[in-house]
Symmetry: C2
Subunit: 321 residues, 2 copies
């Protein structure tokens, strides 16, 4: 039986194996993913982002519990920023999630995301597809760090949660990065700590400056204390309410179309990049162009056009495989 | 006279204009950059990265002063993480750098980096080329935030400085992200504050775990107090020493070849992506594929191969322009 068929039959080992193959960029993974694709699109995908130290992992852990109480199955994708130099993954507080390890309704995947080639999105999207095809009702995606990946999470999830806490440092720097406009829900974690009120009022102020149409979703703020699992049920309710909003407003379809377009473009870019690397090895053609650039004998734009010529001559035979 | 020729003649307005055109992704900018390229490769490019709030901008400001004392000309590229939703840039503490605004030996460019298409590298590299062609001896590049951009800075600079401070939050989270292995120099800023010793000992401990060959550069740690301009001269000396190391060891050539390769691949990806977007508009072909994906009638891999076919049929005519 093919891996895809096994996964659709509920085989978690087959799912783990395919996830591994996706990370290792095995060719057969693409084909198996292709077979799974028509069985996806059912899960509700929720992205969690926020600065380091706000307690995202612990919050996601308590959200798993909250959704399980509602008898929903849950998948988790945790994206670790990995050293691109050593290739090693750091586990850290992911270990705490072991609590759910024996629950058949939960599947947790921590990603190495080696070298960050293609950024957050490409293999994260594949992991989401696999969990979706496995029939998980809810998929929680965690990204770490501020900056690009925070915004990118809006490209892989239906709903985006920005997690903040009183001790997460200079919040303004985070809010700068554009995630403020992207967040559908704000979780103010460690809400028992001093300064939580300030963070809430700050977010309220920022939201107050934006204009919302009456029919539009106005981002909600939920106070949580993840370690004590406080606020998790309320956050789950808000998230499910947002899901209903997405469906009835047509926003879900709009977001998913944007995601399909992004996924397609990422795949094309990745195909072209892999193809170029192949060219480096097989023909030395690009290596010669790189050398020419380093010697200032050719400029990057001219070199790019030469490669486009080379690509168009070589694409045909490859894409016909 | 062409823009490129004006820039080579020292016209700063022409340089500003070309930088603007690069950000706006104007087609003529590529051609002008092509003309400048053979005049680049002379500047020493130093990247500064580190978590928000450590005082990178202030430190770079004092480094401008330190290099000017040595009668070197300086260019600065400050990369702002901009809201990809509003397209607006936040200036913040960049204003403080006004001190050097009247100095003809200094050119400062704060980048909006709209939408982060292509991440840090693509337009940042172009800005560096322009400053390089302008004849700047030193180019300082600032990136904000933790995560991907911190590692990417090693792809645009000769030397990488990781800026830390006693109050920059959980340093371990930063060090996770792989920049530890990439940094050539550590600047511990706000060195007068409590906890600076701890940060230093932490970095020393981390460095102590790595093996360095005798001929290899062992990252140096410099204490700075940017507001008081303390440590800036020492940091400048360390950086120039690292430059000598890069040159004599052959490491400079190696790094620059890696950068040329990255730039070429980024350009190719960008060309392909632009081309695909054109396809969206002109032929509706890709939009139909996206719709097919959203409806689960075609999987992403099959759609990708269809686009590769389409690209190879259309590339020829475009690249011959």
């Amino acid at each position: 039986m093919e891996i895809a068929a096994k996964i659709l039959n509920g085989d978690v080992y087959a799912a783990s194996m395919l996830m591994r193959a996706v990370e290792d960029e095995k060719q057969f993974a693409l084909e198996e993913l292709g077979l799974l694709y028509s069985h996806t699109g059912k899960a509700f995908v929720i992205g969690f982002t926020g600065p380091p130290g706000v307690g995202k992992s612990t919050l996601i852990d308590s959200m798993v519990g909250a959704f399980r109480k509602k008898e929903m199955t849950v998948g988790v994708v945790a994206v670790d920023p990995t050293s691109p130099f050593t290739g090693g993954a750091v586990l850290g507080d992911r270990v705490r999630m072991q609590e759910h390890a024996m629950d058949r309704g939960v599947f947790i995947r921590s990603m190495a995301s080696r070298g960050w080639r293609g950024g957050l999105s490409k293999s994260t999207i594949s992991m989401i597809h696999i969990l979706d095809a496995m029939g998980k009702d809810i998929i929680l995606v965690e990204t770490v760090g501020t900056g690009q990946s925070e915004v990118e999470i809006t490209k892989v999830s239906d709903t985006s949660v920005l997690v903040l806490s009183p001790d997460s440092g200079d919040q303004v720097q985070v809010i700068k990065a554009g995630i403020l406009e992207a967040a559908d829900v704000f979780a103010i974690n460690k809400a028992d700590k001093e300064g939580a009120d300030y963070v809430v009022s700050r977010v309220e102020f920022m939201l107050g400056m934006r204009k919302f149409k009456p029919e539009e979703w106005k981002p909600e703020i939920v106070l949580t204390e993840a370690v004590l699992k406080k606020g998790a049920d309320e956050l789950a309710d808000v998230l499910l309410r947002h899901k209903e909003y997405l469906k009835t407003s047509g926003e879900m379809d709009r977001r998913r179309r944007i995601r399909a377009r992004e996924e397609l473009l990422k795949n094309v870019e990745s195909f072209v990049r892999d193809f170029c690397y192949q060219g480096f090895v097989v023909e030395q053609y690009m290596e010669d162009l790189v050398e020419g650039m380093a010697q200032r004998n050719i400029d990057p734009h001219s070199a790019t056009l030469k490669i486009i010529d080379w690509l168009s001559a070589h694409f045909k035979q490859i894409s016909s495989h």
